[in-house]
């Protein structure tokens, strides 16, 4: 695993290029797992347990509709609006639902706020729990053995692998999502960003800054 430490997700018979030969009449080009999945789906559809249209809708939702821009909108609102910020800290589930983000894997939300003294970072050591309504599906590294295992014992080391070096005085708090409570990090607001509007602020909020493996972007990186 030395050359590919995210190997919990790599595969022996996975050939990315074959995704482009994805036709029903072209099974010879599909890898064995793709064939196995297709066979299972057709069995379950024949049985009447699932419907193809619902599968398409589920995929479309998590590929195109739900993702970290939702979380960025929450963070930007909290930076821009002190009363929303307070509400978010007190009742994150309701405050986030007020922006129309709610539901599966975000039923019970808690916000953890970074400050000059504290840096928060979120993990699920037991599986891959992640706040779907605000961040979408977790990236591969979040689900990988290296991340799940090490964040709790060596968060500073893991952060360095993400290129993040914290001030030595900063205390690191790790949140292990062992229950159905989902944690979202409220990153520190970039310095000198007082003049930015909410939309501009949101563009500085990265996905990783809301997991705690990154920081919000400095205003110099504001998209033109």
């Amino acid at each position: 695993m030395a050359d590919k430490p995210t190997d919990l997700h790599s595969d022996h018979d996975h050939h990315r290029a074959h995704g482009h030969h994805d036709h029903d009449d072209d099974h010879s080009h599909l890898d064995p797992t793709a064939l196995r999945v297709r066979s299972l789906q057709s069995l379950l559809i024949d049985k009447g347990y699932i419907k193809q249209e619902a599968l398409n809708e589920l995929i479309d939702t998590y590929e195109n509709k739900v993702g970290p821009r939702n979380g960025a909108a929450v963070v930007a609102r909290a930076w821009a609006d002190p009363s929303y910020h307070q509400w978010l800290l007190e009742d994150a589930t309701a405050a986030i639902a007020s922006l129309d983000f709610s539901g599966r894997q975000g039923e019970h939300m808690v916000i953890v706020e970074n400050t000059p003294e504290i840096h928060n970072i979120v993990v699920c050591t037991l599986c891959s729990c992640y706040p779907w309504p605000v961040l979408g599906l977790p990236p591969a590294w979040y689900k990988s053995a290296p991340y799940r295992s090490r964040v709790v014992i060596d968060p500073v080391g893991v952060l360095s692998e993400f290129g993040v070096t914290l001030n030595k005085e900063k205390k690191v708090i790790v949140w292990d999502s062992t229950a159905e409570v989902r944690y979202l990090v409220l990153p520190e607001r970039p310095v000198n960003s007082e003049h930015l509007n909410e939309q501009q602020l949101a563009s500085l909020v990265t996905r990783n800054s809301m997991i705690g493996t990154g920081l919000a972007l400095p205003i110099e990186e504001l998209p033109a």
Binding site: L40, L43, Y49, D176, A179
Partner: protein
Amino acid sequence: MNGVHDMGGLECFGPVVPEPDELFHDEWEKQVLATTLAVGATGTWNLDESRFSREALPPDQYLSIGYYRIWLSALENLLVKHGLVNAEELKSGQSLTPPATIKNVLEARDVTAKLRAGSPVDREVPSKPCFAVGDLVRVVNRHTLTHTRLPAYIRNHSGVIHKIHGAHIFPDSHAIGEGENPQWLYNVRFEAADLWGDARATDGSVHVDCWEPYLSKKP
């Protein structure tokens, strides 16, 4: 269950290699996600049982086959276990027996509403919480043969109650067909130096959500 899924504190897997925003490695992974969610919506089993099924895979497989193959294998096992398909049907992909009765079939038009509603797990219970914010607690030395959400790295360690989340469905019961059995759920703060020893000491902390049966009063 003491298994390889319970990884907190291991350091044998090498560095984390961040990737670009890659959620899926291949088209079939999306199909596994969608199929798992759609079959889940039939109401035949719950999320805790799904997690248990993934953890119960042979450890060499769990560590090597990849995330969505874990989901796929666990889904196949649950389908057979609950009698929705049999092993021969799974092998052939052909339906050879009449379908089992299921509670619900997910329709495309209901997907958005169902996902938005989610499945809250907080419940009203008649009991009062045994612990209050600020109480010192000790994690019990609990080894179950079935599903639990008590990670090994906090067993026998002491912490402080940081927050009371309310009473939530107890996964240890829910995963094995023993009902929701809601229990008080607490967020507990453990000092990093206490968990990992002085040699690795930082002044940081690790917070873990723990149900009441995982905790005892600190003597």
